[in-house]
Symmetry: C2
Subunit: 219 residues, 2 copies
């Protein structure tokens, strides 16, 4: 049983894209999955289901579908920082290299978790706004975050990916997902090739939090 503390897990949870094919012990997986079930959600309807894919042929097909979207995405992404200072560019280039590795080795991850949700079980309060809706995610991604934090605490690498949502029809066919359900993420899980989780780089509280009104940075 892990003894990891909350803040230690959070401050070292980073995207780990190079995963070893070694199997994950059943008891470890079960703790991670149970952590996801605990997440808050609207009206306690728990409008999500997750599929833990370990079947080699299915993982291979998911990896191919992922790659078909990752490859053009990586090209666009690279263009976005082509003229950035060298240190910034090198950082992004490392991310792309790790993303390339993930895409071409996706099937080697011992478990690919596919996150599904039922639109009618969500109370989507921002559906009438003149912008993309996000509120449905409020009953899905807290469970995803719990799963990621638990994976980190158990020493597993993981990364939240959403590119496959653009291939939802194919993914649903492949995994027998009923017509009325949608897909929200794919999370590869596995022990890290390298050091795995570690220090992260984020904006400070003073840039992300305001006091009382927009614009007054939190001191």
């Amino acid at each position: 049983m892990t003894e990891m503390k909350l803040y230690d897990a959070m401050r070292t949870l980073r995207a780990v894209r190079k995963l070893r094919p070694d199997p994950i012990p059943e008891a470890v997986l079960r703790r991670i999955f149970e952590a996801a079930t605990w997440a808050p959600n609207g009206g306690n309807r728990q409008p999500w289901r997750m599929i833990a894919v370990r079947d080699g042929a299915v993982k291979k097909r998911l990896g191919e579908l992922y790659t078909s979207h990752w490859a053009p995405y990586a090209v666009t992404y690279a263009k976005g920082f082509a003229k950035a200072p060298q240190d910034v560019r090198e950082k992004h280039e490392r991310t792309i290299a790790a993303g390339n590795y993930l895409a071409s080795h996706m099937h080697e991850a011992p478990v690919l978790v596919i996150v599904c949700f039922h639109p009618a079980m969500l109370a989507v309060t921002d559906v009438d706004q003149d912008r993309v809706s996000v509120v449905g995610g409020g009953s899905i991604y807290p469970a995803v975050e719990n799963l990621l934090l638990a994976a980190r605490a158990e020493g597993l690498g993981c990364v939240l990916t959403t590119l496959l949502c653009a291939e939802e029809a194919e993914v649903k066919k492949l995994l027998d997902i009923p017509a009325e359900w949608g897909t929200a993420a794919m999370i590869p899980l596995g022990y890290p090739v390298g050091q795995g989780h570690g220090p992260i780089s984020r904006k400070p509280v003073g840039e992300l939090f305001f006091q009382d009104r927009w614009g007054t940075g939190y001191q």
Copy 2:
């Protein structure tokens, strides 16, 4: 400094709707806010900002706006379980009573956290699907979940609410939120009136997780 372990925080994080007006020490708030900054997000763009509202008049107005949506919601919610068995009905009635309390005492919470996000900073991969989009939430609600877990670990009550998103225009005006930003949640924070966080009731892993394909419950 808290010593709470990850799984202990997760398995006892529940919606706490009765909050005391007592102030929250600055160091505690800062730890909770920093926990939110650590969350994973697409391309590390951190497309969210949060406003910590402590101004009494602003909190009062937010409470009024919230109540104007909570009141009709509670009526619809009550109709949904009017014919349920007595034990189920009583459970929902307790939730509604706590919701009524929250709505009418919203301004008493020492801090109301308003979560904002920038739609153009999100990579919304499910925007072409024939269903409500949720993927934008994947770069917002992990930070919200971190904030809730940290609040729980610090002994603060909290609850994720999204009803105010239906009043986005009013909220943006009230808090000087720029036109291009949206709102994704309001989280009241405060020390609990009663026992606060504790045991939660969730579906088991076997009902929420499938193995390899939809329909084969995870054993």
